[in-house]
Amino acid sequence: MTDATLSGGHGRSSLTTTDANTKRRNAAEKRFRAYGLTAIVIGLFFLVVLFVSIIRSGLPAFTHTVVEMEFTLTQAQYDEAEDQLFKTKAYSNLFIAQLQAQLEERGMEVEFDEAAIERLLGKVGGNLREYYSANQNRLGEPVQFSLSASSRVDGYFNGRVTREALQDSRFLMASDLDLVDALRNAGIIRSEFNWNFITGADSGVDNPGGAGIGASVIGSFFMMLVVLVLSLPIGVAASIYLEEFAPQNRFTDLIEVNISNLAAVPSIVFGILGLAVFIQFMHLPQSAPLVGGLVLTLMTLPTIIISTRASLKSVPPSIRDAALGVGASKMQAVFHHVLPLAMPGILTGTIIGLAQALGETAPLLLIGMVGFVARGYPDGFVAGFTEPNSAMPAQIYTWAARADASFYEKAWGGIIILLVFLLTMNIIAIILRRRFERRW
């Protein structure tokens, strides 16, 4: 019988020689491995392309060209400038006049005039006025300033603006580049790390040199604080109740389905909701991180509930049974035994939810956080929630839409900073999971 079936099926088989069928199966396995490897290589390739292009486009945002000069402002000049409507213009005119005088004294070999110097400088008036308003005692004595040059000079330094492609415009003339070269040799213009980009606030469209992402980092921080403080307790409480206490019936099924659906709702919908409920109905302030945080809380809640329930579920029932068996109440069993064991999973889910919320722009569009929001740092903790501020992704979006190509660089630079934040959060999530995870 056995002989018959064997010979009837495949003929004689041997363990030492491979027959056609085994060869086919081995080949199939090899092919499958090759497919998998290809998929990983393609994925890695795109990742590398993405990172290289982000870093290459974004790095110029972290350096800027500055004009370094000793500047003296007399009390009379200060009073005169403060008397005008357009004070910062008066300051920058004084600066230009002194720079021109100093250059003439040095005897530069290239021709230049006041207009050329004005084209080379960024918007320096704001910085000067800010400095002298705070340090009135420095009036009348020489102060060493290094103020940002115009965005075109920046572009010339990092290769975005070239002599060949340059067309004379009122922003920069080809002849100005000779002056730039001469100033660079004289050490008056140089390139340095742009701290203002990391610490500053947004600036007007004609002033890319003054733009920084710092204020919107603070905005994002306050939003995340609201999200964390609201969505973690609410999410965990909801999932503990649903997982451990709620009866299994149609009503809880309905809630479950709705939570899963909510997790898939496009984020812009939460923005519309936020506008209608928080701003128009509850009269909370527009453009405030508080409202942004509330909107993002709604968005993050389902993510946290789903991951919390998954990690509660993964705690073995024997733990609960043992706790109940030695006389713990249901609540004691949950809070003393199940919750601590589920904590790493809950924290990971929360951090991933927060990271998702951090990168979200669409809901902020409708509550006034996208646009020109340049209030700078909030004064005080409560003000951080209520004063208008932007958020990192919103700031990047705003910059990407501006005409000056220099803002485009800033947008990429902003993306690098946002990615650093996201990576840090994900690393924290991984460390927490590694540290506290228990396997059964």
């Binding site: 922003f171 007007g204 609410i234 128009q280 409560v382 000056d404």
Partner: protein
């Protein structure tokens, strides 16, 4: 129980902030993405030059801005709406229905609309309104007959234009720019080619003919751009034959990538627009809610600062960025000074 404490403190914070928020201390602006750059320049300077906080300026388009402006009076509504066209009768009515009756109209200057293509692309250097209409109108006049537009290349209807495929990127209907483009280019082209007359002869009423003149072909040769000019620029970058509609200021910031075409023989510049020679230009406005003056700190000062000679006048930062200064700026200043609303006065 730390959760409980956290929740309680959050609610406390929320309550405190809600009360603190009762007095908004900054001017809130929204509206046209064409006016946004100018408004952001003014907002930054306003914050630097006065003791008031920097106003918040949002974008979103003229219509969207005016809609929010007309939502009512109160701190949770915006104070100023930017618009790249004048407010419509319908919108004034909507405003009035919500209690926004006293509106101050402020004209800040003029903006030119230019037609630009890739620096290294085909020689698109001179257009007439008729060329644009022949390229993208839905129904055009061909050999004396009204036919559906099947033009594939520019040279098909004007041998002086390059033999390049038609690909136009025009502002979407939510932009105020679209209206100017329709009125000053499409409609003019429609009349000049004789298509308008042919439509009237075929029995259409004046309104129907006008509407049909403004119809744009839907076969992909003309693309509506609903985003900003940067989106148009990206499309032009990707398409050698592409021609985009831009604001003058945007073009001037990107002369290394774009070359501009003349319209009816006139090259766009602040001078030709100010003199009225360049045909495709429009006034830019912002609208102020009078009821908010005195309630929102710095609102009137913001409006005054915006139209001051040093800012919006010739040689100021706005005209340096590409705004064409309004020759009648002094009248606007007087209007803001006396808080003259629409419909009152002259």
């Amino acid at each position: 129980m730390s959760f409980m404490k956290m929740t309680a403190s959050t609610l406390a914070i929320a309550a405190v902030s809600a009360t603190a928020a009762a007095a908004r201390d900054n001017v809130q602006v929204a509206g046209s993405s064409t006016v946004l750059p100018y408004a952001s320049i003014v907002a930054e300077l306003f914050g630097e030059n006065t003791d008031f906080p920097t106003p918040v300026v949002e974008s979103g388009g003229s219509s969207a801005g005016l809609k929010r402006f007309c939502e009512g009076v109160g701190e949770n509504t915006i104070d100023v709406a930017n618009a790249s066209r004048a407010i419509r009768e319908k919108e004034i009515q909507a405003c009035a229905d919500n209690g926004v009756t006293d509106i101050i109209e402020v004209r800040i200057g003029y903006d030119g609309i230019v037609f630009a293509s890739q620096q290294s692309g085909p020689e698109f250097t001179a257009f007439e309104p008729t060329d644009i209409f022949n390229a993208i109108g839905a129904t055009v006049l061909k050999d004396g007959e009204l036919v559906e537009n099947t033009h594939e290349t520019w040279s098909e209807f004007n041998s002086e234009l390059p033999d390049a495929e038609i690909a136009m990127f025009i502002p979407g209907t939510k932009h105020g720019t679209r209206e100017v483009f329709e009125e000053k280019v499409l409609l003019v082209g429609c009349e000049e080619t004789g298509a308008m007359q042919a439509m009237l002869d075929s029995g259409m009423s004046e309104d129907e003919a006008e509407d049909s003149c403004l119809d744009v072909r839907q076969d992909g040769k003309s693309v509506d751009i609903d985003g900003d000019y940067t989106e148009t620029l990206a499309r032009i970058d990707a398409n050698t034959n592409g021609i985009g509609v831009f604001g003058l200021a945007f073009y001037e910031n990107n002369t290394d990538k774009l070359k501009v075409a003349t319209m009816s023989g006139v090259a766009p510049s602040t001078e030709t627009i100010a003199s009225g020679e360049y045909p495709v230009s429009r006034p830019l406005f912002f609208y102020v809610k009078k009821a908010h003056i005195g309630v929102i700190p710095g609102l009137k000062e913001y409006a005054q600062f915006f139209v001051a000679d040093e800012i919006a006048g010739p040689g100021g930062p706005l005209s340096n960025y590409g705004l064409v200064a309004d020759p009648e700026l002094a009248e606007t200043q007087a209007k803001v000074e006396s808080e003259e609303t629409m419909g009152s006065g002259s």
